[in-house]
Structure formats: C-alpha cells, structure tokens
C-alpha cells in the first residue's frame, strides 16, 4: 500500500504541509477562509531538532495499536487505510495513549482526527505531498 513518507534530508521545516493538510480537511473552498485567524489542526505535524526537520503523520500501521485499542470501534482499518467514524468517537483518547508516533490528535471539537491519506478528498495524491515544495514528502510503496 502507498503511504506518506518524509525524506528528512529534504525537509525545510516550512510547515506548508500542515497548511495544505488543514485546508484539504476543512470543507472550505477558499484557503483564506479555511485558515486565516484559526488555530491549525493538521493531521501532519512538522517536528524540528536543530537543523533536522521532519513531518509526522499516520503510518497506517499493519498492526495498528490505535484501532486495536479503540474502545468504541470508531477507529477502523478499511482496505489498509485507518479511518475514524467521527460519530462514534467519544473523545476518550485511548488512541492517543496507544499511538507510538503521536499521529492521532483531538480536533477543535474534541473528536479524534488523523491522516486518512486524503482518501475522501479528490485527487490521487495527499494534499501534503502535492503541496510540498521540495518533494520531501512522498507518497509511495515501500
């Protein structure tokens, strides 16, 4: 299955991926409306250490601890993709305790949010990959 990977040596730490991600998941058609003056809740997050930058998003693990741990069944694995049924999430955050990458997080309304590889959004590439100016973020089979 294709996944999002980050080539650390190319990542500039510009955080454009976070903006593209938040915009793609905002249900807005205008990027300014979607992001201006709002706290960005992106599913991909850039971390920085000295001069090393890298973005972290859901690994879509083969043995996903978040799905196994989910106490309501809201997190599910569908055709390899780990998705959340927002109507069944009750904000307990057991998934946050389970995920070794810190790749699931609470959204503005408390429901859990995570990268779904833009599967529900049109296009054949996740928004963070499309928007990465340095091609540091790639979408590929490994």
């Amino acid at each position: 299955m294709k996944r999002v990977y980050v080539n650390e040596q190319w990542c500039l730490g510009c955080r454009l991926c976070e903006y593209y991600c938040a915009f793609a998941n905002s249900n807005e058609s205008d990027i300014v409306k979607a992001l201006k003056d709002k706290k960005i809740h992106s599913n991909i997050r850039v971390e920085t250490k000295g001069n090393i930058n890298f973005a972290v998003s859901c690994r879509h693990c083969e043995e996903p601890l978040c799905v196994k741990g989910c106490i309501t069944g809201a997190l599910q694995k569908k055709d390899g993709l780990i998705v959340v049924d927002k109507d069944r999430c009750i904000h307990c955050y057991t998934c946050i305790v389970c995920c070794p990458y810190g790749a699931v997080s609470p959204s503005a309304d408390g429901v859990i949010q995570k990268c779904e590889l833009c599967a529900k959004i049109s296009g054949n590439q996740p928004a963070c990959v499309k928007g990465c100016i340095n091609q540091a973020i790639v979408y590929e089979e490994r």
């Binding site: 890298f54 043995e63 106490i71 309501t72 069944r88 955050y93 995920c99 810190g102």
Partner: protein, 409 residues
Amino acid sequence: MKHVIIGNSAAAIGAVEGIREIEKASEIVLISDEKHFTYSRPLISYYLEGKTDRAHMHYRDYDFYETNKCIPMLGVTATKIDVKKKRVLTVDNSFVAYDKLLVATGSKAFVPRIEGLDSVNEKYTFMNLDDAESLLNALRPTSRVLILGAGLIGMKCAEGLYEHVSSVTIVDLAERILSSILDAESAQIISERITSKLNILLKTSVTRFVGNTAYLTNGASIEFDVLVVAVGVRPNTAIFEDCGGKIAKGIIVNSKQETNIKDIYAAGDVCESYDMTISQNRILALLPNAYMQGHTAGKNMAGCETEMIATLPMNAMGLFGTHIVTAGAYTEQKFIDRKNGYKSLFVDGDKLKGYIIIDGIEKAGIYTALIRESVALSKEDFELIRVSPTLAAFSDAYRKGVLSGSKNK
C-alpha cells in the same frame, strides 16, 4: 476447523479478526448470554449521559457477522465445557462442538456482603447495556443516587447520571478517587475539579443498609433512592474452572493465550496478563488489552504462532471535561511538571515505567512506546522528552526506525 468463542465483546471480536487474518473459511460460532449485537461496553456511561445512543454503540459494523462468516448465538448462556468430547453445553441443553475454543467471558461486578443490602429495592450494578437500561428506568430528576466505589466504573457512572438526578454521593474505602490509576497528587487535582458536582466520601464504607438508608463507618447516615454497586470487577472464570482449568486471580494463559487445557484459549478480562512494568501477572480489565489478547488468541487458534505484545496497564478517560491518561507502574523516582495541568513521569533507573497526565495529553503514546519498548533513556534526549513527547527527541536511529515503515515492533 471449527472455532467456538464464548463471549461477544472486545476479546471475542479480536479473536474473530485474528482468525480471519489467517483463515477465510473456517467455522466460527460466538456464544453470548447478552442478546445484543456486539457493542462497546465503556459506552454505557455515555449512553446514560445521553452523549451517545443505541444506534452508535455497535463495536463493529452491522455486517460484521456476515462479513466474517460467524454464527452468533446471542442470548444463549454456555453452562459447561466438556473437555473430553470437545463441546460446549448451553443453557437449553444443546451443545456446540469445537476444535478450538476461546473463553472470552469477561468480568462481572463484585458485590460485597453488606448487612441489609437485600433490603434495598433499587440497587444496580453497572457492567453492561442491560444494567444501563435498568438504571435509566429507575432514575428520576428527584433521585438521590448513592454509588459504592470511586473507581473507573463508579466515577464514569456518576458522570453519566449527574445531569439527570438530584444528587450523587460516592462512598469509597480508599484514600483517593480512581485509586487504581491516580496517585495522591493527581487524584487531588481531579477531586478539586469535580467537588462541586459530586459528594465524595473517602476512607468510608457502608456498615449496613436499612431500606433506603445507608449507615457509614464515620457514624453518619445517608438517605438515597437508587444504589449503584461499583466496588470492583471479578473475572467470569466459573465455566472454565469447572472443567479443570487452571486459574489464579483469573485464567492462567501463556503468551499465546493458551490455557492449561489443550485447544482451549482464553483472552480479555477473564484472564491474567503479564504486566511488564511490574514483572508480574495480574488482572488488567481494560479494553485494549482484551482486544489484543483476543486477536493473539485468534491467530494462534488459526494455526499462526503469535505472541502477545508486551503488556502494560494504560487508560484514557474524560471526566467532567478533564482528560486523564495513565500508563504503567508508578515508581519512586518521578519527574513532575505542573505547567500545563499535571504530568508525572515515573522512572526506574534508565527506563520510563509509567506516567500520569492530566490535560496535556497530546502524543502521550510516545511515552507509552518508551515504556513498552524499554527504551534506554540515556540514549535519547530525555531532557526534551520530559518536557513534551516528541519524536524529535529521539536518536536518529530510533526516529528513522519508527518513521520509515509501517510495522510496529
């Protein structure tokens, strides 16, 4: 191959999914005394509260039994395991033959003997959907509710019914609330936040009931309309014990979830787990653990040798708007950070052993992974990790290892 599973909750569903990862066509029969489609047990307090409804409590999609080709026998109690003939007897005197059997019977409420308890008319336990329905039926806006037990179930029950009743009193023998997951300081923080809502009496128990009056060890008495007993849970081991199965506090299993009886496996609240943070077997009545044990059992039942991943207690809960996450064991040496709520990291030598976090819960799973994988803290940037759980604090090797693939250790 015919698999029979007693149970239809987290461990049982984990087993079905484990079996189906390996075998597509084998027979699977689920026997459960509850008549409901598999549902999420922890949701019953949210159901009381009105934050969810029956249409959103299903633990798996409604086509789960068809998709996974299982035959659910719901509303059927298994009464006996006939080890010689390899079959399970049911309450209606019929039997179901098995090649491999999983005991996933979970836990039941422990009801202590208290003088006069029989004389209480409106008394409930809070373990399953039927309990929640009965309790809902008994509640009135004028109800004064008394809950025995300030543990996870008692507190979640209190939260669930708080808005619907006139008052909630909780009585517990322990020195603090949520004593299985919180230490003194963290329990104090939570207590202070909820003290205006609930009347909590600690280091106190009920000596006797006379009708709707509870007499307490501190000499006081409480009038109530509805009683909820939530002092603890016990594994449902009886059916396994009766057929010669080996139990201690719960069913004894190995890392493949095999019991001492050939072709019988056990998983979930009913059995013991090896808690790596204290190097001891204990009961860990928690849903993630139940699912993972079930999943491991299922794979082994289908012939794929699989060991249970390193196990530790971990819990996440919301309580009256406060988020609490905890994991592992609470050792002497701790690093406390009170800047953003409360965080205590418990360390033993060079290893992280446990944590308690209130409010700033994001990315806590990075801490969980440090515990589970026994990461040597001296090799990583623990100063940075202590402040916030971030992959940036890890050595290049660790970070690249976890980010380069999709396989967890």
